[in-house]
Amino acid sequence: MGLNKSRPIYEKLRIDPQGRAHLIVTDLEALPQDTIEANLALSNIEIWVVARIARGIAASPSGSRAFRSVADLLSHLSFHLAREPVGLRLYAAGTEAFLWDVANTARAAGLGKDEIFLTQAGSLRRRVYCTHCKSMNEDAVANIATCRACGARLFVRDHFSRRLAAFMGVMVDAEVPNEIPEIEVIYP
């Protein structure tokens, strides 16, 4: 157990036996098997993935469904949860920003903390919030990111907001322009 800081601690995906139905969503093209400890053949489990192709894939009888993009999936999720009676358990597996987008969508739809389960999987890349211009920057993999909205070079602080589903980015060379530490890929 790590120290209790702003970084959430994630666990492997396990099916909550208290649930009546189970929806697993991921921003990957398929569920990452190495982070799952569950029997996914059960009939009351539905799986949503992101195919990243314009045509998408029609719902299959087995309850698996592919979406064109993460935004497409989140949009469907909002509608789906608004119609779902109690007893659903929602599981998200994927990048940290996706997990908290899902969690925030679910909380807005009225799901409680105990009905949402998050499992980090795939890339460690970070969504970075530019503290100066309030823009979000996706897919940062290094200690320094460039804000595509205002051009600031941002040091990615190890400080995470679940509400914004993003890490804090603060200008790295504010004190002396262009005095920038070596750029290292640390969130592959």
Partner: protein
């Protein structure tokens, strides 16, 4: 309390603010010992303490008008410095009531509160405000209640919701912060918003502090001091505006350090609110230039010892590697090695 308010002062641009002799002698110096380390240094917030700054529930001093003006300027640039989540409306009224009642009681010549049932009249004489409104009805005020009153009080404020055996920062007025962002931290739990602080997590400081605060009782507020260093007496050292104040840090030289380098102290108060059961966290900031601070002999000597022996991670976190040695070099000649009294009282009554 007798105070003369300065009519105009700036905390940006030409930084015209200065501390009078009285302000220096009432400054809440934060180091009771020669060595500093994080601790749960919380004590009851009762009237009285090592200096006059500890006398009132919410301290007002000679910089009142200038600080309120500076806050208004910051809010024009960035209204997100004041945000309260919608479920906190009861805590907003609790805050307004607490601040108005405390100010009117502690500073009767500056503030007057008159109640006729739910119809309240608030007179803020230094700012020329005379407002009649209905308590509990936000539409009768020009701003939401929390913003309305915190625009008229020195220092930052946050309100913590108490639920799930934790505290959540669900609102705040934050325009004079030491490098943390309300817009980023809004909604975080106690350990989340303290995430970036080094060393203290490992010491268990936050676990103990949270356990203590969850038991905070109505009518028994507590206080603690925190500190950092700031270049120029600038209130808005926010991460949002780091591109504006960051360059100041590279302007420090051995020649100008006495004037430009400021010790920034936060007199933090925590008060349980009656209706919402939320906790109001007051972060009352004080800035003093080194050349003002060294006029108190004990403070010059102790400040020298604390900075000289400071834990390297704290040096880093408080953003002082660039100029720490210059401060030590400036302070060293004031320190004759004399054994100092413990505690933070100035040990002199005039300068």
């Amino acid at each position: 309390m007798n105070i003369t308010l300065k009519p105009t002062e700036t905390f940006r641009g030409d930084f015209s603010t200065r501390n009078s002799d009285a302000a220096i002698l009432r400054f809440p110096f934060p180091f009771p010992e020669d060595v500093y380390m994080y601790a749960v240094n919380i004590e009851p917030h009762v009237p009285g303490g090592p200096t006059e700054a500890f006398t009132a529930a919410f301290d007002i001093d000679e910089h009142y008008i200038g600080e309120c003006h500076d806050r208004a300027l910051t809010l024009i640039d960035d209204p997100a410095r004041c945000q309260v989540l919608p479920h906190m409306m009861e805590a907003e009224w609790d805050t307004l009531e607490l601040l108005m009642e405390s100010l009117a009681k502690d500073y009767p010549t500056l503030f007057t509160l008159t109640k006729d049932g739910d119809i309240w009249r608030w007179q803020n004489h230094p700012l020329g405000i005379d407002q009649t409104f209905s308590f509990g009805q936000p539409e009768t005020l020009p701003y939401p209640p929390f913003e309305y009153i915190t625009r008229q009080v020195q220092g930052d404020f946050t309100i913590q919701d108490h639920r799930d055996n934790n505290l959540y920062m669900d609102g705040g007025m934050v325009t004079s912060q030491a490098d943390w962002s309300l817009n980023f931290d809004l909604g975080m739990s106690f350990h989340e918003w303290h995430g970036p602080v080094p060393v203290a997590h490992e010491l268990g400081v936050f676990d103990r502090a949270l356990a203590y605060l969850l038991r905070l009782q109505y009518g028994k507020p507590v206080r603690r001091l925190n500190w950092t260093l700031t270049v120029n007496p600038r209130l808005d050292t926010s991460p949002e505006n780091y591109p504006l104040w960051g360059p100041d840090k590279a302007t420090i030289t051995p020649e100008n350090i006495r004037e430009k380098m400021c010790l920034r102290v936060e007199l933090q108060t925590l008060t349980r609110l009656p209706r919402s059961n939320a906790i109001l966290f007051g972060i009352r900031g004080y800035l003093i230039r080194l050349e003002e601070l060294v006029r108190v002999k004990k403070y010059a000597k102790r400040m020298h010892r604390v900075l000289r022996d400071l834990h390297p991670e704290i040096v880093e976190y408080k953003g002082m590697p660039r100029y720490r040695q210059m401060i030590i070099d400036y302070l060293a000649p004031f320190d004759d090695g004399e054994i100092l009294s413990s505690g933070t009282q100035p040990d002199q009554t005039s300068l």
